[in-house]
Every structure is written in C-alpha cells, then in structure tokens.
Amino acid sequence: MVMSVFLYGLALFLILNLIAGLVRVLRGPTDADRMLAAQLFGTTGVGILLVLAEAQGLAALRDVALVFALLAALATVAFVRARRGPGSSEGEAGG
C-alpha cells in the first residue's frame, strides 16, 4: 500500500518534470534547444514507464520502455540530418 502510493507519487513527479520541460520547447530560442527538450522527454518517459510497470504490476510495460529507449534518439538524428544549409532552421527568439 505504502509502496503503491510512493510509486504513483514518483510517477506523478516525473510527469510534472516532463511538463516543465515543455517550457523549453516553447522558449527555444534555437531548434537545437527544442530538440534537446525532446531528448529529455525520452529519458523521462522511459523512467515513468518503468515506475508505472512496477506500480500497475504490468510487466509488459517494461517492453514499452524498452522500445522508447531504443528509438528515443531517432527524431534527433532526423533533425540533424534534415538541416539544409546553415541558419535555415534558426528559430525566432522568444515564445
């Protein structure tokens, strides 16, 4: 019982972390910052999934975490690869 409350509390705390990270996506200022925030979501998301797997007693959720961990870097790779010419992906400041 105590453990369950603790685990859900931890999950909630991590979700709030994730939401706080969204501020960086909005603020930028460069696209690289935003991509960095997305990378942070990946690591946090894996953590949340692992905690929920324990809390809900669903072992299959670890597989979901596994898939996230495996694929988390892909968006960043696409981002770096798709930049055409310097400066073209420069975001506007503020937000």
């Binding site: 979700i15 979501f41 998301g45 809900q56 299959a60 790779v77 696409a78």
Partner: protein, 332 residues
C-alpha cells in the same frame, strides 16, 4: 488517490499540448510538441492497461512519426506553406476579427467533446463485448494471447485487409513519386562517425527486440506490427546514417517485401478453402500458420514503413518523370 492524480495531470496536459500543437505558428515547435504528445498518449494507454496499444504508439509515435514530421517541417515547401497559412490567418475579414477562427474551432471542439462525453456516459455500465467468447475459443485458435487470437484467427480477414491498407499507402506514395525503384533516392553522406556508431549499436539490438516482441506476441502483449515498426525505424536509421537501407533493394525485392504479407494471407486463405472456408486454420497447424503469418507481417510492415519514409524523401530525384510530376500539365 495518487493514481487519480497521475490520470488527471496526464489527461489535462494531453489536452493542453494538443491545443498548443494546433495553434503554434512556428512549425518546428509544433512538431516537437507533437512528439511530446505522442509520449503522453502512450502513457495514457498504459494507464488504461492496454500495453499492446502503448507498444504500438511507442514504436510508431516515438520512432517513425517524429522522423517524418521533423523532416517534413524542415523542407522549404513546408516553411512556405506555414508562412502562407499565417498570412491567410491575418488577412481579409480575419483582420477585423482576430482569433475568430480559433474561437469557432474551440467551440466546435468543445461541443464535440461534450457530445462524446454524453455518449460515453450513456453506455451500459457493465462491460459487455466479445472478451468472454474470445477467451472460450482461444484454445482452438492456436495461440495463448487473446489479442493475437482475435487478430490472427477470429478476425484474420480484417487484419489481412488492414495489411492491405498499409500496402496501398506505400504503393500510393511510390506511384506519386513515379518510381518503384528507391535506388534513385538521394542518400545521406557517410560523414558523421557518431551516427555510424549509433547505427551499428542500434541495428542488431532492434533486430533482437523485434524478434522478442514477435515471439512474445503468442502469449503476452507484443506482436508483429510492433516488431515491424521497430525494424522499420532501424532501417530508417540506417538510411540516415548513410547506409543503404530499404533503398538498396531492387524493384523486384522491394515489391516482394511490400507484398509478402498480403500475399501470404491470400495464399493461406486460398488453402483454407480446401478444408472449408477462406482463411480457415484452426486445427493442429494453427499455431504454426499464425507464427508464419506474423513473420510476414513483421517483414512487410518494416519494408512498407521504411519505404514510405524513403519514398517521401525522394523528392529531390532528378529523373524526367519526377520533373514532369511537378510541372502541372496545361489542363487535366
């Protein structure tokens, strides 16, 4: 108590992030928010105790959708379209009613949500459905996971046609780009060592994990589509790292990869008619057939999704067909 806290925060933030995704004027910001939303949706499926869907959302949402969107958002055409949309939103009558479009769409969305809420509340309280029937017949289906027995046996016909939907999407994209040969697509330079390193690590692991999910699909959440999506992501990573991924396939092999699963279902269905009905395989061979069909789904899903990506990136091809496709004929 706290689990409700998790659910409420999650649901609320999904709504807010979705709202921002729609209204964000800057394309790239919107895309990153969309990726974050995919993660949150996956968590929502987890909270609904639907690991099969959470897995699919993770494999497709985190892997392929993000890549496709980011690539699309960074093309010049997309930037121009976004600029034009911004322009349109502040010109004409909209200049006099700034935000009118938002208010209307917000009202429509809220009304829709309210209607949906009423409909869901109206549903019978006790869980009904075919869960029990599926559980009773599961033994005859050849596998031990109810989701798999529905997808690959009781409703294999639907799954077959869904495989067809995926296949048609790829055929459509290739037809639009007027090539069945992805070898002509632009390949990335082989310059980033880090990327090569990553691809070398991820590829074998992706094959391993896809194999694990494929195998576990017979008795626990997992399955062929998820495994295929992971392999597709790995193929795309190969391509991005400068290796020949799916675009190294010849026209014939590409076609065979795309068609494999659909054709396999067709063949199994055909053989089934000798025993009774189309797609009949409930006896001793059931499990073997299901495993074989799932394997074809893994391969075809991987090739199809990777080909969608490679096809979508083939816009810079310089053959005359592609040029013709971009120049509108005088009339149609």
């Amino acid at each position: 108590m706290l689990e409700h806290g998790v659910d409420i925060v999650l649901a609320g933030s999904i709504a807010v992030v979705a709202w921002r995704v729609l209204l964000e004027p800057q394309l790239f910001r919107s895309m990153v928010l969309f990726i974050a939303m995919g993660l949150m949706l996956s968590l929502a499926w987890v909270r609904l105790a639907a690991p099969d869907i959470a897995l699919a959302e993770a494999a497709i949402g985190a892997g392929l959708t993000g890549i496709l969107l980011i690539r699309a958002a960074q093309t010049e055409a997309a930037q121009e379209a976004a600029a034009a949309a911004r322009e349109a939103a502040t010109s004409g009558w909209r200049r006099w009613f700034p935000g009118a479009g938002r208010i209307v769409s917000a009202a429509a969305a809220l009304a829709f949500a309210a209607v949906l809420l009423v409909a869901v509340i109206d549903l019978p309280g006790e869980p009904i459905g075919l869960t029990e029937a599926a559980a009773t017949e599961m033994e005859a289906s050849g596998v031990e996971h109810p989701v798999t027995s529905v997808l690959l046996n009781f409703r294999a016909y639907d799954t077959w046609l869904e495989v067809g939907v995926l296949l048609l999407a790829a055929m459509g994209v290739l037809a639009i780009h007027r090539t069945y040969n992805l070898r002509s697509t632009r390949s990335e330079e082989h310059t980033m060592l880090v990327l090569t390193w990553l691809a070398r690590i991820i590829l074998p692991l992706a094959v391993l994990i896809a194999g694990y999910l494929y195998w576990s699909g017979t008795h626990q959440p997992g399955g062929a589509f998820q495994a295929g999506a992971i392999l597709a992501a790995a193929l795309v990573l190969m391509q991005l790292a400068g290796f020949r991924g799916v675009s190294g396939l010849s026209t014939l092999w590409l076609g065979a990869g795309l068609m494999l699963s659909f054709a396999a279902f067709l063949a199994v269905g055909f053989i089934g008619t000798f025993e009774g009905e189309f797609l009949r395989y409930r006896h001793a061979t059931g499990e073997l057939i299901i495993l074989a069909l799932e394997l074809t789904i893994v391969v075809s899903t991987a090739v199809t999704l990777a080909a969608l990506f490679a096809g979508a990136g083939s816009q810079s091809g310089d053959d005359s067909d592609a040029v013709r496709a971009r120049t509108p004929p005088e009339s149609l």
